[in-house]
């Protein structure tokens, strides 16, 4: 074989190798060159695998027998080949040598050759193969790098996709949780809160359904606040479930731990009634998450599935988050309801006291009229009678005193009349609100010099006595305010009947004020506003105040048409 020929082929090899990133193709090119140019008896190309643990036999030349494909790194390759009967244990006529395929100090494989060349030619052949292997090594290195990169890209792409999917799920979860929190916020009762949560749970956790129960340990029951619509036939809200038999479960919940059952069927029967109910609706696995308020167990959120072991860590995490929101909302609502209830109680009490006071005032006024008034009348008449029957002898001495006495009685009567009117004007009972307002306005005008005018329909039907009294008291209070603060010259009191309801409107032309100042409690007190409001509300009415600096003030009390 001429040297020119060899060099030419070496050159050909150098330009052909490395044109692709296909390992098989590159290996084939190399081995083809080996077969064409070096023509060994046999050749075995081993490449180190990526983990650098084993050598893989990737290509052979001149080997007819089947042969295993890989060998541990560091194993004697000749022995390995001999053991398989590929070569003679030690060749006399065969010359064999191995050429390492390395680049930049890193080994990529080994080429084993069996040649028939005579020793003097062998050296040249080895040189040639070494050079060729020198060409192959960087190509292999390049391919390896490329493969590594490609795998990394694939891995990262997959990781990215996975994380995008996770983000999407997380975002979706957050969106639903937010939606649920909003629904919970808008809810007006514990039942509505529970309902809102139950509605959203199935969107977050694939399940048969969810239920929220409140525990009443005093009677040992759980009361269902809400369940999914699909479960309502069996588990309707309001249902009381006995806690007997599930005490260990409750004890766990009390500790704040989640109770998870992967298969109800695997539990020893008979099941406690609470769990039987779950089974009855088709639940096999469930999770129960405690609803805790300040370390006190108040209820539980229970999610059930038809499949065994349906709940993952992530499901439990979401369910815990929901339970958290739920517990806070339920606690808050409970406190709010308690405050409301107390406020209603106080208000009812105040209204009751007010009513008792009004009744007492009325009773006193009647008492004054019926007893004292009548007696004064009798006294006056008696005195007058005595006056007419006095003998002329005594008359000149007694008459002045008698007249004084009669005048005194008249003055007492006048005073009693004023007290009566102050306690409870008879006119209010006798003729109704409008005449009473008119009478009061007259007195008010005389007292204050402010022109008070009353408008209304005299033919309108009377309002219930309690409403009349309340509106009259409010009008008195408002007029007192007008006299004290408004610097008004005129005030108009309008009473309009609207169906069964009424509207009392008191408008003055005084200095007015900035209504936002009423947000301050001391200002409200100054105007007696709280009492007026509560009085109005006690008869199902609504009191509003309109004013602006320099524009007078208008107080409006509206009584609904259905309430009295």
């Amino acid at each position: 074989m001429s040297k020119i020929y060899q060099l030419d082929h070496l050159y050909q090899l150098s330009v052909t190798l490395g044109n692709t990133l296909d390992l098989c193709h590159e290996v084939a090119t190399f081995m083809q060159w080996l077969a064409d140019v070096v023509r060994p008896d046999m050749a075995f190309l081993f490449l180190i695998d990526e983990n650098r643990q084993r050598l893989r036999l990737v290509k052979t030349l001149g080997c007819e027998v089947p042969i295993r494909q890989d060998v541990p790194l560091g194993f004697d390759l000749w022995r390995w080949l001999a053991e398989q009967g590929v070569i003679m244990p030690s060749g006399e006529r065969h010359t064999r040598y191995a050429v390492p395929i390395s680049f930049e100090g890193r080994l990529y494989g080994t080429l084993c050759l069996v040649s028939q060349q005579c020793p003097e030619k062998l050296q040249k052949e080895q040189q040639l193969v070494n050079t060729a292997a020198g060409f192959l090594a960087p190509v292999l290195c390049n391919i390896r790098l490329y493969q590594t990169l490609e795998r990394q890209v694939a891995e990262r792409t997959a990781a990215l996709a996975a994380s995008e999917e996770r983000h999407r799920r997380l975002a979706e979860r957050l969106r639903i949780l937010r939606e649920m929190d909003q629904a919970i916020l808008a809810a007006r009762s514990p039942e509505e809160i529970a309902e809102a949560a139950v509605k959203h749970i199935r969107k977050l956790i694939p399940s048969l359904g969810a239920g929220i129960a409140k525990f009443d340990f005093s009677v040992g029951t759980a009361i269902l606040l809400a369940t999914n619509v699909s479960l309502r036939d069996w588990l309707r809200p309001g249902l009381k479930v006995p806690l007997a038999g599930v005490e260990p479960l409750i004890a766990e919940l009390r500790q704040g731990a989640i109770n998870q059952v992967d298969d109800l069927q695997a539990m020893p029967s008979p099941l406690p009634e609470a769990l039987q109910l779950l089974q009855a609706v088709g639940v096999r696995s469930y999770i129960a998450i405690p609803l805790m308020i300040q370390d006190t167990l108040m209820g539980a959120l229970c999610i059930g599935a038809q499949e065994p072991a349906a709940f993952s860590e992530e499901h439990i995490e979401v369910a815990s988050e929901i339970a958290n929101s739920l517990a806070i909302a339920l606690h808050q609502k409970q406190l709010f309801q308690e405050v409301q209830r107390q406020r209603r109680q106080v208000r009812a009490l105040a209204a009751q006291i007010d009513q008792i006071e009004q009744a007492e005032r009325r009773r006193l006024a009647h008492e004054l009229h019926d007893q004292i008034g009548q007696n004064l009348t009798a006294l006056s008449i008696h005195l007058s009678t005595i006056r007419t029957i006095l003998s002329p002898e005594t008359a000149h001495r007694a008459l002045p005193r008698l007249d004084d006495a009669i005048t005194l009685v008249e003055e007492i009567a006048q005073r009693i009349r004023d007290v009566m009117a102050e306690l409870h004007p008879a006119i209010l009972d006798d003729y109704g609100l409008l005449p009473a307002l008119r009478w009061y306005a007259e007195n008010f005008s005389q007292r204050t010099g402010i022109i008070a005018h009353v408008r209304g329909d005299d033919e309108a039907p009377r309002l219930p006595s309690r409403v009349e009294t309340t509106l009259f008291r409010i009008a008195q209070e408002v007029l007192t305010n007008v006299a004290k603060h408004a610097q008004a010259t005129r005030v108009t009191i309008t009473l309009e009947m609207k169906g069964e309801g009424a509207c009392l409107m008191i408008t003055d032309d005084g200095v007015g004020f900035d209504p936002t100042t009423l947000q301050k409690p001391e200002q409200r007190e100054r105007w007696g506003l709280r009492i007026m409001r509560e009085r109005a509300e006690a008869i199902g009415g609504r009191l509003s105040i309109h004013s602006a600096p320099g524009k007078g003030t208008q107080v409006v009390v509206e009584i609904g048409t259905t309430q009295t």
């Binding site: 009229h369 008034g373 009548q374 004064l376 009348t377 009798a378 006056s380 008449i381 008696h382 005195l383 007058s384 009678t385 006056r387 007419t388 029957i389 009669i406 009685v409 008249e410 007492i412 009567a413 006048q414 009349r417 009566m420 009117a421 004007p425 008879a426 006119i427 006798d430 003729y431 005449p435 009473a436 008119r438 009478w439 007259e442 005008s445 005389q446 022109i451 005018h453 408008r455 005129r490 108009t492 309008t494 409107m505 408008t507 309109h546 208008q554 409006v556």
Partner: protein
């Protein structure tokens, strides 16, 4: 009791009051005077009507607050069925409403109970003579009230009929704002503004915008200088 109606000098009087002491006392005072004869008494409203219609006294003194039928109603019925009988209402109350209702029902006199002993003779004589009689204390109050009312001039400004909202909207309408603009300013729906507008126009009995503007100028809501 019917015998004395022969004498034209005597004035026949009927007393209706649920208190015997009052009836007895008044009877004694009147009869001591010599020129009156008390021809009947009643302790409740129904009895009073029946007796008065039968006896036709010159004067009936009727308590305003009686069981079964109050004095005002008794007065109203008597003045219809027995117009020759003059009625004096006897009352503890001194409000103009009570007095007005009594007079409107047909009473000629209104006597405060505590002054009855002193004034009854004068009162009966007065109403019998065709005059009205009000207890002195009341007469003073009524005159004062009359004077006060006369002084206070025209009582009501039409603006006072409007609610606060209606006034706000009137102001904006006469400033030339459209319903849409007003709705914007007050954060209401244009429909609500329309409702307020038509209601205030109805209340003021003004049915067009120029009319409203004229009204607003008169009331000082807007001035021509603006």
């Amino acid at each position: 009791m019917e015998a004395m109606s022969d004498s034209r000098l005597e004035i026949s009087v009927f007393l209706a009051d649920d208190h015997a002491v009052v009836r007895d006392g008044l009877r004694l005072i009147l009869e001591t005077q010599g020129s009156f004869s008390v021809i009947g008494e009643a302790a409740d409203g129904h009895e009073a009507i029946r007796q008065i219609c039968r006896l036709c006294p010159d004067v009936a003194i009727i308590d305003i607050a009686m069981p079964k039928l109050d004095g005002i109603e008794v007065t109203r019925r008597i003045s219809q069925s027995c117009p020759n009988t003059r009625v004096i209402i006897l009352s503890m109350y001194a409000t103009s409403e009570h007095i007005y209702r009594a007079l409107q029902a047909g009473a000629q006199g209104y006597l405060l109970k505590e002054s009855a002993g002193r004034e009854v003779v004068e009162a009966v004589q007065a109403v019998h003579a065709g005059q009205r009689y009000l207890s002195r204390r009341i007469a003073d109050a009524v005159v004062e009230e009359y004077i006060r009312l006369r002084q206070s001039g025209p009582v009501e400004s039409p603006l006072e009929r409007l609610t606060w909202r209606e006034k706000e909207i009137l102001q904006l309408v006469v400033e030339g704002k459209s319903s849409a603009e007003i709705a914007e300013i007050l954060s209401l729906s244009p429909k609500t503004v329309e409702t307020y507008r038509s209601r205030l126009m109805q209340k003021l009995n003004i049915h067009d915008i120029p009319g409203l503007v004229k009204f607003a100028i008169r009331q000082g809501l807007i001035s021509l200088d603006d």
